[in-house]
Symmetry: D2
Subunit: 426 residues, 4 copies
């Protein structure tokens, strides 16, 4: 039954949100309720209603809400008056994180990266990556991809595709050129034909780029998945043309696609990697920029930031690495859960016209040919107690980012509600 329900508003929220908070507020309009607490994959609002969270902080809560192990470590640290804020002064929490990250993440993967703490958000990590790439190469131009999302500060916004968000800059966004992401032409066109051609043609008019910035799966862009061979070809192209390759793993890193880094499956080693969102494991602000040692040409303090030493996040981050990444088990489980979700989505897609499943690992979704249906489905799911959001240039994709720790039973329960929501909306 096609149904276009009235758009949800936040009119039912306590009035302070409308009277004091800026019009820029967004999610509270889609999900007009006041959340009070959360535990693993579930959140509870002030009226006691529970929601299954298939949104997970837009990928910042890969281990769910208030994971007991992480909570224990955090409370212990805070109770003991551990240093909370330290900029880049050395602290025990930071030392422990660096050692743990090196031991459990970098060394086992043979990754020889230096670690920068750029300021505790994804966009700050991207800004640091772009600055470093320009400084190292002496070039100014960056290649981004269609429907990329890298952040809202001016540098990151320049390499972001969304026209509404770009217009927010209020100045022309320059020094970046978009290239077609994998499968942009439905597989018809040779993959790097255009990019390679203009790079090698001295008359093409393309400013020689310092770097390429890419997401392995475009979450905000509509769950567009780059094939592994496309990523390999991109890495080869960058290597041959001496262009730095930046993988923005802010949303897809930390196990979202299975392995810790989303690029591992492609067997590539980016020059620069950005991490944020789930790196703290507990939803606490934290970000890293990783790069090959040869690129570590920063002067001390050349890029800084007040909250680059957020120690409670280091504590939960270390604990999360120990709990989830000491063995290969977690990645394997995530792969299995991803397959479970994908199977459920494929089933829904088969039962309706104009719907297709897409995604990789535990970043999965449904694309609707009739874009308006995606919002209808999310609204219906919310009414049925599941949080999931839309993405894509026309908001045509229902995106599922459940905590990776969600039980198979909960995953299935959510899929069942999604199926029902689709049936109601279509």
């Amino acid at each position: 039954m096609p149904a276009t329900a009235p758009s949800p508003t936040d009119a039912d929220l306590p009035s302070v949100f409308a009277t004091v908070e800026s019009e820029v507020r967004s999610y509270c309009r889609s999900w007009p309720t006041v959340l009070a607490s959360g535990k693993d994959s579930w959140v509870t609002d002030t009226e006691g209603r529970r929601y299954l969270d298939f949104f997970a902080g837009a990928g910042a809560l890969n281990y769910g809400h208030n994971n007991a192990h992480l909570k224990g470590a955090l409370l212990e640290y805070l109770s003991g008056d551990g240093i909370v804020h330290s900029l880049d002064i050395a602290t025990t929490a930071k030392q422990h994180f660096l050692e743990t990250f090196d031991r459990l993440i970098l060394k086992p993967r043979g990754l020889d990266y230096k670690v920068q703490f750029p300021g505790p958000t994804g966009t700050n990590s991207v800004e640091a990556a772009l600055k470093l790439a320009r400084k190292v190469t002496g070039r100014e131009s960056i290649i981004s991809f269609t429907n990329a999302f890298h952040g809202m500060t001016l540098g990151s916004l320049s390499v972001t595709g969304n026209s509404m968000k770009r217009a927010g800059a209020g100045i022309p966004l320059v020094h970046a050129t978009p290239m077609p992401y994998d499968n942009y032409f439905g597989g018809v066109t040779e993959d790097f034909g255009w990019f390679e051609r203009v790079l090698d043609d001295s008359g093409s008019g393309l400013n020689r780029p310092a770097a390429v910035i890419v997401e392995t799966v475009q979450g905000e862009g509509g769950l567009n998945v780059a094939r592994l061979e496309w990523l390999q070809a991109l890495a080869d192209l960058c290597h041959q043309r001496e262009i730095l390759l930046i993988v923005d793993d802010v949303q897809m890193g930390c196990g979202r696609t299975g392995e810790f880094f989303s690029f591992e499956a492609a067997g590539i080693v980016p020059d620069i990697v950005t991490l944020s969102k789930s790196i703290s494991g507990y939803g606490l602000p934290m970000a890293l920029t990783l790069f090959r040692p040869e690129l570590d040409v920063w002067a001390p303090g050349e890029h800084n930031g007040t909250f680059r030493g957020h120690n409670p996040a280091f504590v939960t981050a270390s604990k999360a690495l120990e709990i989830f990444w000491s063995t290969a088990e977690f990645a394997a489980e995530t792969a299995d859960k991803g397959a479970l979700v994908r199977a459920g989505l494929e089933k829904i897609a088969l039962s309706h016209h104009g719907i297709s499943a897409r995604g990789r690992g535990m970043a999965q979704g449904l694309r609707f040919d009739d874009a308006d249906l995606a919002a209808d489905v999310c609204r219906a799911a919310f009414e049925r107690g599941v949080l999931m959001e839309t993405s894509g240039p026309s908001d045509e994709v229902v995106k599922l980012l459940p905590p990776l720790t969600t039980s198979p039973g909960d995953l299935q329960a959510g899929l069942d509600i999604l199926a029902e929501s689709v049936a109601v909306a279509v």
Copy 2:
């Protein structure tokens, strides 16, 4: 005894800092020790050595380390599985913060501001402010001031003065024009002569600005204090020429100069205000952008960010407002302490040639005609158990930003060590 000790290095730190962390690390080179815990104005390193903290997280710890009241509220919230991460979904913690901020800060001061949560860092708040100013006015150019510091992301960096940090951008920083900050010419030149003249001359070549961004006291710039009448004249000029006035109160807000907002003493009402650093009160990442309701032209989600809903910070922020800002007492105490510090500094300045005291409220310092001495003094103070840093374009100023909650006794103890450090270094 003039003494140029060898520059401190982080060679004595555990090796992971040098082998894994990027060369961009900075403070750990000046203070080569590993901090383990903190309480109020004191921190303790792994070897049990205690330091009196006159740095206070570069202004992010106005209420000291791990304040007992705030800690209590934070532990209670976390223990109860309160929502940690929420983007801009409504939560109980956010609701409580908005109500508290409105009740204790905005309403009593007659400030009719909308509140945006831009992403939990100062630079993100500045980026939001610049974007909004450009969107509202349809103009692109921003007026900044000599020796301003507003952040490291591309938009904020464009309005920052420091040439080393600007060079880090790797691209020409445009759309901003610097104007002389108050007293830039030693009081010789009429204050706004140049700025007014080029604004009013249609042939001046100055792009008509969207906004002026200013700090009331330039902390990073060397504790340059704008006179209140200069701030008033600037506000008048902006108002008359229909240019938006942005006060960046990231470092000087939250009581650093006495009143909650540093611009209150001047009796001005900026169009846009940025807050971060001490707004959470506990060193947790958080930031706000405030603006007049007429300027609230954001579309929902037009500026977003993963960590704009950092609820533990909302909890401590609310508690800090309740504890410190329910009455006028705290501001008065801060004024008194500022006077105490200033008197101590004046005394030191009098006893040596080429040193002068400067600052406002609890942002005070000593300027050395021989710039190198400032670092020597900070090093001597560190050896004697006090943390304080240099600032200014030539690092010629020893900057004191003690927690506002520091006891008069501790303030005096720190001043005594400073006096001794000066005596040793000069």
Copy 3:
């Protein structure tokens, strides 16, 4: 016989060229001789040597050197003390030109264009076109094409492809995005796939363009010929998306391809047209910018220039229109001559491996797979008394731009020498 002769130098020229003129001088290095006089398709140097001119001022001498009719009109005007320089004051010469251009060019073709005199060079006309397009649309971005050439001033250079010339700017060239010119992928790829796709995708990251600027045949770019159906599709695309279409007819206009405007054959009507080079008919500096009346939003004097009223050029321009464009005969003759040249080139191409003929109308040439051969051929031709230059991103094309008035006999003589030069060089 493959032969790589030593590069020609201007060492044999009178010393003043090397001692006083800048290193930027270029053609005098390829053709190291001092020209003294010219008549129609022939020039004579100071030693009495004659050269057949298949270069024609890079397209500025479509009617040859010192055409007798134009010369007569010019001498009469100058002898009578007609106004030479007038900026945009009305003069008899300008009035006569406007009336003649309207009567013989615009009206017969049904073109309702306003005429701007922007300054007497092609690049100035392009700058005026870009400024107007941006002013009219309120957008900043321009779409240019691979291997485009539009001029050396900053605005024109931004839409020019050649990387050596772009680097001369010394600043990043922004506000323009290159798109693939027709046949850029050898016919494999759908023509406007990429351009249409990014225009229509709100998440593509392409700034919505004010205008597209295109040459119908890219002369400097290597005689790349756009198919008429490609031009039509481009015009349709621009019209549908409300993007202005600028045809840069500086080199290909004034009959070079047969009809007066090179776009006539495609049956399209650009929004803006640039003309220069041969518009004066006598090699005198002159340029026009034409646009639809609705676009004529200039304020008086908003774009100006000292030499926009170069009356001797108006005199020869009017006479050239009267002599050559009062009937359709000239265009038809040019078409025939173009066919003659093409046949000659095809014959040469057939007799050697790795050579292909290309071009349209009287802009024809030979492309060499081995790019170095093109310069060898031009050198051999010069030694044999014919002037022709190379073009293309790798200088791989020998470009023939004979005066349109060259007799069939002279055309054949030149082709014979070209054939001999190819035989010697290959």
Copy 4:
């Protein structure tokens, strides 16, 4: 008698000007008549009315209209089928010009400059100068001055002050910062206080400039005259800080202020000089860019242009140098005439309130406190048979640029009419 006559229009001109020419036309609105011929300082319209020309092609006709000597040389060259158009191929006319310019201008003044022919307009010469300065220094930023005028193409427009003309760009004009021109503050402020201070302050936020571009007298800017000691101080400052000094002598060069170069009187040697307007001596398009040999880092063809070899202009330019610049007499006569004009203007200024004389050499004018009067005066003068235009940011200056060859009697006649026009208008 104060009188505000209706603004002149071009309604009385032949209709083709309104129907076919763009709205951008400007001077024909102030002087609505059709000029037919000119001789020395006089022009005649189609109805036989004669005007004394105190405008002189905005400085392009320093030797008046159709000077007999130059005309003779030009007609002889054209009659003999001399090469008209040659790009940068060597020609007899170019050789003769280079030798003559070197012999009569550069050598006697001890100026060791290389000569570039950039394209035959002032703005093209400025674009070449800016590109070269950026290429040589590797810096992007240029310092310009308040009320500067350097041209309408994008690079030149960025260093031009007029806000109406700047807005025509349609994109933000960046990479340039305006500084106060001499006497901008009425002599109150120390001259280079601001500029020196921000250059030397590493925290000022000023991008380190590649070059300073300056006019010795700002013609379009309102006849603002820089003191010679100010120019010397500027040259010293640039030299000490290793910033290139560009003197834009397009309007004030070629003897307008007395000596051939307007900077000679200050005894300075700029790094780069731009010349155009009167360099051909006959109103024919021509321009030069001069620079120290060490700066001649151009690659061949890196900056080019179709009309950079406009030989008829070279012929009249050489003849003009021989006629006027073989001895020091002409400069001395110009100085005398300048004094005569100045005396006349001073006299007028004395007889009315709110009028002041200003200028240098034969660039003189009257500034009106009531800006509207300037246009009234010009209109009254036109009605009385004298052409003179307004300038300045508010068009508040009546500018007199008579041909330098104007007889003392004609100068006095023009001054008398000006006095009468002032009397009528005020």
